[in-house]
Each structure stands twice: as C-alpha cells, then as structure tokens.
Symmetry: C2
DNA sequence: GGTGGTCGTGCTCATATGAGCAGAAGCCGG
DNA sequence: CCGGCTTCTGCTCATATGAGCACGACCACC
C-alpha cells in the first residue's frame, strides 16, 4: 500500500461513509462493500466522523431544548434544574419561547407546589398566558412583591397572579401595596398592616417561587410605573446595579445596590429567595445577561429557564466587568460556583 | 385519557425523544422509561421526527457531497453520473471545491480512459492543479479545441493539458491553432493542415472528454484572449447565446447561437461531444446556471460535476430566468457576476 | 346499533450495531 | 536486528433497533 497522506484519506473515507449512512441510509455492511473496507471499519469511521464534528445533528423545533447547556448550567452553578431553549433571531419570539418553556416546566414540575409565590412583569405575564387551563389542580398563588398600582396599565401584576391561579383552579392572594414606598416609615407602616403583613407571611411560606428580573435602565417597569425616575436609575447604575430581582436592585456581585432604596422596597427579601427550596428564574434576551449572571452566580435561583445565548454567556468567561466590581471577599462567600479558566 | 391536542403533544414528545436519542445518546429503552412510553413508541416517534424534518443531519466537510441531488440530476437529465458538492459562500472557494471534486472523480473513474480529451479555461486549469501526481498511469491527453495563443497569459491552455498528462505519466497532444479564426478560409486551411488535422482526429477518438463552459459576457476568456470583442459578445447575446462549450456559443435551447462564427471556430463539434460515451462537464457558480442548463438539458454531457446551488437551479423549474436573460440582452452579458446567497 | 375501515399499540423475531478482545502491524531506542 | 510500545484490524458476542403482525380502539357511514 502507498503510505500516502493517510490522515486525509481516512477523513475523506469517513465523509463518504457518513454520506452513505446518514443520507442514503445504507447499512454499515453495504457501505463496507462500496468503500471496500470491513463493516467494523465503517463503524469506526462513523464514530470518528461524529467525534470530529463532521456529522452535525440538530433538532430544529421551536420547543426543542439544549440539554447539554442545561447540564452545564446545572453543574456550574449548582442549580436544581435548568431549561434552555434555542434562541430565535427575533427578540419578541425569544421572550415568547422562554415563557412557554417556563410554563411547560411549571406544568411538569414535581412535586406540585402547594403554594406558589410569584412576582410580576412582562415576562411573568407571558408565562401566565402560556400556561394551559387546568395546568394543575388546586395550586394557590401569592404575590411576593409589591404591585403596580401606579402603572399606566393598571392591574397587570394582579392579572398575572390571578391568571396563574385560575388556570390551576386555585386562589390568588395579592399583595395590596406599592412596590417601592417614598418614605421608610410608610413602608414600615404598610408592612405592619394586618392584611399586607399576612400576605407577606404567606409569601414566606410558599413552597416555590416563580420570578423574572429587570434590567437597570429606563425601560424598566419601575420607571414605567412611576416608582422610580430615570434619575433614580442613573444613580443605581452608578452604584453598580445591573438589574432588579423581585423589585430589589442588585449589583454584579449579588448584593443590594442601594440599601436605603431597598429598605423602602416592599416584598420578599433576597435572603428569603436564596433560602427557598425552589426558586424558578425565567429570563431571556441579551440585555438581561448581566442580571442573569448576578442572580445565577449568587445562588438566588435554584431553577433557571432561559435561552441558549444567555446560557452560553453565563457559561463563558465572566470577563472584565465582574472582576472590576467583585474584588472584595464577598464573592467567595456568596458564590456557589468557581470560575475555571478552561 | 384527555383527548387534548394530541397532534401537538405527540410532536413535543417526538422532540424530547430526539433530544435524548441524538444529543444525549440514550437508548430508546431508556427514553421510553423517561417519557413513560414503550420503546417501540419511541422508535416510531423518532421515525416520525426524521420524516417531518425535526431532526436535521448534515455533513459539514469541504469534501462532502450531496448524493440526493446527484441522484435527482442523473434521473432528470439521464446522466451517467453526477457529483454535487456543498456550496461555500465564497465564489472562489466554490470554484476550488468543484474543481477538486472533478479531480476526485477523474481519479476514481472507471474504466480509466486511454485517451482523455480536454478543453481549457480557468476551471479546467484548477482541475489540473487539483489532480494528485500519479493520479493514473499512462493516460494520454489531447486538446479538443483551439488554444489561447493570443492570450495575455500565454500557455494556459497548453499548461492545463500538459499538467493533466504529466501527473498521469502520459503524453499531452496540443492543438496548435487559435480558437476562433477571423476568416472561414483560414480556418479550413488550418484544419486541413496535417498536424492540426491529426490532432483533431485523435481528439475525435478520445475515450472521454473533460471540459467546462463559459458565460456569454465580457469576462469570458475569449474576450480576454482577443478572439472576440465585447461587441461580438453583445451580438451573440442578442442572438440568445448563454455561453460557450469548447469554444462554441450556444443558446438556451442547445443550438449554435451564430453559425457563421461557429464555422470559424476550430475544434471538436457539439455533435461529437454529444455522441461521446463519457463527457464530463465541470461547472459551478451562479453566473453559469444558464449555460449549465443549456448543456445538461440537451445531452451535451454525460457526467456533471457542480455545486449544490447550480444543481438545485437545474432541478427547479426552467421557466423565467432563461427568458429574462434572452431579452435583457447586453445588460446581463456585461454584468460580470452577481453573487447571491439564496 | 351494527359493521367495515383506519389507526395506533405492544408484541416477536431477524438484523444492525457497538463493546471488547486477541493478534498483526508499524515504530522506536537500543 | 530486537524487544517493548502503541496503533490498527478483524473478530465474537451482547445489545439495540426496525420490520412485520395481530389485536383493540376509534370513527364514519349505513
């Protein structure tokens, strides 16, 4: 035999084998006959072709998931579960797919939560809409952060919780309070109110939480709703805020950006969220990568539902911005994961 | 059972099964256990997913081929053989791949031709270069149409034939004549010359032909070489010429565009090419779709080596573009090439 | 309400495939 | 030229998979 460029020859053979196997669906035996090699060699050739990525198998379907990414995310961030959907180019479509996936997850999640704590926002509303009627039986729902009574489109927050409860044939308990109060005393007073206090107590006892997160910019629902001014947001950003989780603005290292503001924010606390057995974060889209990273790297969620771009962003090197802000010792205390430079 | 939206539910199940099978490579049994169906159902689900195109298997490799298209082409146009390569976005790259594929084909083609008739041009030169040294033993080569003595880069035509022969350890016989003569008498005289006549005779006896084709526009090698002026080309286009085959300009319906010019063109005739047992056309790229169609639909080649876009264009409805080209006249002729990524 | 047709199901069984192994074939430093 | 090394080859055998079949559910049309 000519000991010529065997490497290239083998590769070409592998390509031919792959074509015959996957496109012509011939049997490895037949391929062996055609390429004049034994069927075992054909098998090895195909294995090699798969390893070397010559053969690409892709599942093209809106409801497809990226299981490999899910596994990586779970491992890297110590999540109980992760759902990653393929990202369409269109952002609206992406949000819809992520929301759908969250609804699917909720439907099939076991054990079924007795009481589900929910936040509100555009994403959560989409999740609620994506849930099928009768998605569960007798799941009660409780709001975990202040509503959106000042909103131009009032009732969104309430509608979300109610819809989720209704579709499961359960009761919704709303939190009848603004999200952020102007004065600390007012907040304390409202918190002390029997009704509000009762709801908060109930929220603390929920067996699972479902929430999304907002970006720290002027497109936030908080600005839209009048709780914060663009100037407030600017101030928060200056303090390193990357976004809000159930109304509380956090920095990249997972801490409260502005404690004074946070004290006036009514609802479940970050620590309560962190301590929860099941806290499902639904988040997708490029602008939210930073918040998503902050939440996920600091153990604020136990289940993540997102798109593949976000997933990849989370898994890739945290990069410069994190190191800028997180050179305190705090990071190691709150981080459940370590970054390995692979 | 809830007789709910079973179609959608089945599809989703198929997607999940596909993920587990192809991405996680679990066994159908295991998948059955996970999805709570029998393993037979999993098999059926996967079959369905493949049918419905949910699973896309692709072979990504420069040397990959599109066997399905090859089969379709052979069937549709009664070819003895077809080679279709995937088309890269870059046109230069595409030409290279098609040429390589042609070289591969030549190497493995059986029976090995005793005498190979070749034309010349950019494509053929690339094929020659892509042939490995010692690609065969004792294959002699003969030029089948007039050379390019007037060329700015002289010797290309000769170099191509010589290189092919040399790499097979054979002899090259060149056709020492211009491609197109200015006067019919001159052509007849040269044709009558012992040497030239002998070579032509030899060319007629070749056991296989290898050639490409040019587009009827000013970028043609004929203009480059000075055999034709841009005005000549414009005239040809007006007569419906779509391109040239071994120097002879043909229309979309496979006939000689300008008999007077053709009479002055020296080399193998179209009928001789059509009658040949093996005539290998190497052609690729969007601008050449029209010529390719003309050649292939009128039996001028028995083997086609091309790219997948050209293949698809040939297989799709003949219709509009041909007629469009015919009446746009010069405009389409002078447009060197428009790359489109369809 | 019967009755034939179509569909989906779970099976048996033949076949295709991958794991694992023993021997052959290069490959190299003595 | 030789032993030790890795790499490749062709095999045996267990397992995974698809074809084909019989049965039951469902449906439409009498």
């Amino acid at each position: 035999m000519v000991p010529a460029e065997t490497a290239a020859a083998t590769e070409l053979l592998a390509v031919r084998a792959a074509e015959l196997y996957y496109e012509e669906n011939k049997t490895q035996d037949e391929i062996g006959a055609i390429l004049r090699v034994t069927r075992w060699k054909v098998g090895r050739l195909l294995a090699q072709a798969r390893e070397r990525g010559i053969i690409r198998i892709e599942i093209v379907h809106p409801r497809a998931r990226r299981l490999a990414l899910e596994r990586d995310l779970s491992a890297r961030f110590g999540l109980k579960d992760a759902v990653v959907v393929p990202a369409p180019a269109d952002d609206a479509e992406l949000q819809a797919r992520v929301s759908e996936a969250a609804a699917d997850y909720l439907v099939s999640h076991r054990p079924v939560p007795r009481l589900l704590g929910v936040s509100w926002g555009r994403t959560l509303h989409q999740v609620a809409e994506a849930l099928p009627s009768g998605w569960s039986t007798a799941v009660n729902v409780v709001q975990i952060n202040g509503g959106v009574s000042l909103s131009k489109r009032p009732g969104t927050a309430a509608a979300t919780a109610v819809m989720i409860a209704q579709k499961a044939g359960g009761q919704a308990t709303l939190l009848p309070s603004p999200a952020i109060l102007e004065r600390l005393e007012t907040k304390k007073a409202i918190e002390g109110d029997r009704t509000v206090g009762g709801v908060l107590g109930m929220a603390r006892g929920a067996s699972a939480y479902l929430y999304s997160a907002g970006v720290a910019d002027t497109s936030s629902v908080h600005v839209d709703s009048g709780y914060l001014t663009p100037a407030d947001i600017a101030g928060l950003v200056e303090r390193g805020a990357v976004g809000d989780v159930i109304g509380r603005y956090i920095t990249a290292d997972g801490t409260i950006a502005d404690p004074e503001l946070d004290a006036r924010t009514l609802g479940l606390g970050l620590e309560e969220l962190r301590a929860a057995a099941t806290s499902i974060l639904v988040i997708g889209g490029e602008p939210k990568h930073a918040v998503a990273r902050a939440i996920v790297t600091h153990g604020l969620c136990s289940v993540l539902v997102t798109d593949e771009h976000t997933a990849r962003a989370l898994l890739s090197e945290p990069g410069d911005d994190t190191s800028l802000r997180a050179d305190t010792g705090l990071e190691s205390a709150t981080t459940a994961s370590r970054e390995d430079a692979s």
